[in-house]
Amino acid sequence: MVDRPLLQVKDVAKSFFENAKEFKVLDLVRFDLTERDFVCVVGPSGSGKSTLLRIIVGLEKPTSGEVFFEGEPIRADNPQVAMVFQSFALFPWLTVEKNVELGLEAKGTLPEERRKIARKFIDAVGLTGFEDAFPRELSGGMKQRVGIARALAIEPLLLCMDEPFSSLDPLTAQNLRDEILQLWTNPDLPPKAVLMVTHAIEEAVYMADRVIVLSSRPGRMIAELEIDLPRPRNRKEPEFYGWVDEIYSLIV
């Protein structure tokens, strides 16, 4: 069924220049994403994970290498790719519903249609009743739900998440992880593939089908591991810990 990968990352490298000195943050990162892939990129701080994600969604240009989405070079405003941010990046002056409608409005969806879609996804992330609230009236977990609803509302093929749980408290984060996995198992909901960046190894093993491990300064791919644990996964099982320990030893 799948003849062509959804996303191709081809030998991406990125350097920053300061005072004519080169700082290499990413080096020769290469992987593919196909439909129904849930991939996590893990790495210590300074491994350029977030930079990689920004390159993949087209917000930054790589120094060398290329990123293809459905066979075409990636563009930042591609409506098939949506992004969830660590800092939520909600527009503080827009209500929950308006925030969720944002990408739809940019696509030129008509108001009534926008409203319907927004309500559907606000409902899906469990925020019914908060449509007219402003972001600052919400807790961190609720804000990130809005961020997720906003990303899903444009019905993207690829959902990119940049450390989506690291500014939440542990309990909220765990609930939200489970809910995202729940949404992911529902084939009627949009994303065909998920790419998530995180520094929490446990989180990666808990959520991903595949984990890509980056080294630090510059970020190079150390390993690409297929996590074949059955879902729902249990953090207390020895196999789970086996994976966590293996990745941990790779990084350190």
Binding site: D77, V81, A89, W93, A106
Partner: protein
């Protein structure tokens, strides 16, 4: 909210009572004052027109400077210069230009007045827009880009809302500036002629010249009432509303819920039927606007090439105009310096020193009283509640309107006419400088995090040590911001403070301001006018570049309160 309404009612009652007493005691003045509401209306209209121009200018200029790298290389330094030059010095030249353009028709004077107020309002607003647009959090920019917000949509949902808090804050400042210049400009002598337009400023100035004390009092009261009314019904609700557009700085930090602007108008009848009808009639227009903006946006994004062309033409036009203006200015300057300098030019250095010393004295006095008062108001809720309204009332009065009162006061205190003129010049500078210091300092004291205050208290820091280790370092950045603004206002005040006509007599002290006045009246001398303005610009720019900027950079890196 209740306290404020009571305060408003009190002010209204006091003003009305004062008006009645004055009217009974001085029937002639009361007859004069009947025209005052009309004058107030004229003056306010001028302010509104100038403000609308300033608003459009600020958004266009700030947005261009923030988004177009090439343009910003020219726009930012230009704005920096425009912001720090004393505008009032240019007024005679602008007035003559406009009056000549309209062949002496009064509309020319109106244009000149509006232009002057515009120049006192626009620069800081443009800077505010630029600052807000360059400090939008990177993630929010990224979100806007990745969700496809471009062009008009990006402006509507990201750039404009992000600029609102600073735009509103600077609008309030601009209106204060505007009143100062409005009062100074409604009656003005230039080129041997006196130009006058009906308005509150002219009314007060004429009353001052005639020494007509009741009219002065009534005029100032009406001006205060207008300024206060606008403050309470427009600027404070807008300020509260703009809180909604503030970025959240740190997660977990609560932002107090702000009252809706409509709460201010609760005492007005609601008239639900009328409201419904208005909304119903506005609705279709709004929808049409939405649809139009959508279509506009599509057209915009579908022709990126055409848009780029338009931008390029825009930029080219700007560069051409800029080069022409600068070149004419330079040619004029060179021509002037090639000719022998006017004899009065030798007075310039001493005049600059004298004016500077007067401002320095005023600044010192302002510092001495504002720092302790700000510390007290910032720390004690009760003191703030009782004193702030009174201070705001005083601050709302432009120093130019207080001119007659200040001269009268100086005459009472000073032994001779010369001393009175000196004292008046310093007092006027003080009145135009001190409020910027005070309100910036209060904001500085308030912004000290409670954690730090509690830490200081728990370590037993008190008295001098508390001031030295916490308070003074913490308010250093606000002190400098306040100082820069205050000195700017001080330089602007020179032209009105060093040459005053009160009760049929002239009070004059040597300085740049009086040189400016002499250059326009009674013997117009364009070369001297230009030289004086140039001297002032050089002094102001030198102070900004050599003193304030380095200090500010140091203070903001060392004494910044990280959140």
């Amino acid at each position: 909210m209740r306290g404020l309404r009571r305060w408003l009612r009190l002010v209204a009652v006091v003003l009305i009572l004062a008006g009645i007493v004055a009217a009974v005691a001085f029937p002639e003045a009361a007859w004069n004052a009947i025209q005052l509401p009309l004058f107030a209306f004229f003056s306010t209209t001028r302010m509104v027109v100038a403000y609308l121009f300033a608003l459009v200018f600020a958004i266009a200029y700030g947005h261009t400077a923030a988004t177009n790298k090439r343009a910003s290389a020219a726009l930012l330094p230009l704005l920096d210069v425009l912001q720090s030059i004393p505008i009032l010095g240019f007024f005679p030249a602008a007035l003559i230009f406009f009056v000549a353009t309209f062949r002496g028709h009064p509309i020319g004077i109106e244009f000149a007045v509006v232009f002057l107020i515009f120049t006192s309002m626009a620069w800081n607003m443009a800077f505010g827009v630029y600052e807000s647009l360059t400090t939008i959090p990177a993630d929010l920019e990224a979100a806007a880009a990745s969700f496809g917000l471009r062009g008009w949509l990006r402006f509507r949902y990201l750039a404009f809302p992000a600029a609102i808090p600073k735009l509103v804050y600077n609008s309030i400042l601009s209106w204060t500036n505007g009143w100062f210049f409005l009062v100074a400009s409604e009656i003005f002598s230039a080129g041997g002629t006196e130009f006058q337009r009906p308005g509150l400023g002219a009314f007060i100035a004429v009353a001052g010249r005639n020494g007509d004390i009741p009219s002065i009092a009534i005029g100032i009261a009406v001006l205060a009432a207008v300024v206060l009314t606008l403050d309470i019904f427009v600027w404070r609700p807008l300020g509260a509303w703009s809180e909604r557009f503030r970025m959240e700085t740190a997660p977990g930090r609560e932002i107090p819920r702000v009252p809706s602007p409509y709460e201010r108008f609760r005492w007005l009848p609601r008239l639900p039927k009328v409201r419904k009808r208005i909304i119903a009639s506005v609705q279709p227009a709004l929808e049409r606007y939405h649809r139009l903006s959508l279509r506009f946006e599509r057209a915009y994004t579908q022709h990126p090439k055409a848009v780029r062309e338009i931008r390029r033409v825009d930029l080219a036009l700007f560069v051409v105009v800029f080069v022409v203006v600068v070149a004419t200015g330079l040619v004029g300057l060179v021509q002037m310096f090639l000719r022998p300098l006017p004899p009065n030019a030798s007075l310039l250095p001493s005049a600059a020193v004298l004016s500077f010393s007067r401002l320095l004295v005023a600044y010192a006095i302002a510092l001495v009283w504002t720092i302790p008062v700000a510390a007290m108001l910032g720390e004690s809720q009760r003191a703030a509640r009782y004193l702030t309204p009174a201070l705001e009332l005083f601050a709302s009065l432009p120093a130019t309107a207080l001119l007659p009162v200040i001269v009268g006061f100086a005459l009472l205190l000073a032994p001779s006419v010369g001393a009175a003129a000196q004292l008046a010049a310093i007092l006027i500078a003080l009145f135009s400088m001190q409020w910027y210091l005070l309100f910036n300092l209060i904001a500085g004291v308030r912004s000290i995090p409670d954690d730090l205050k509690e830490a200081a208290r728990s370590f037993g820091l008190r008295g001098r040590a508390y001031w030295k280790r916490l308070l003074l370092p913490a308010i250093a950045p606000s002190l400098l911001t306040g100082s820069i603004t205050a000195w700017g206002a001080g330089w602007n005040a020179l032209i009105v403070s060093e040459y005053i006509q009160y009760a049929h007599q002239f009070y004059e002290v040597p300085g740049l301001g009086s040189l400016l006045n002499h250059a326009v009246y009674p013997t117009p001398d364009n070369e001297m006018l230009l030289l004086t303005i140039l001297t002032m610009i050089v002094v102001v720019l030198a102070m900004n570049k050599l003193l304030w900027r380095p200090l500010f950079r140091r203070a903001s890196s060392r004494f910044r309160l990280e959140v």
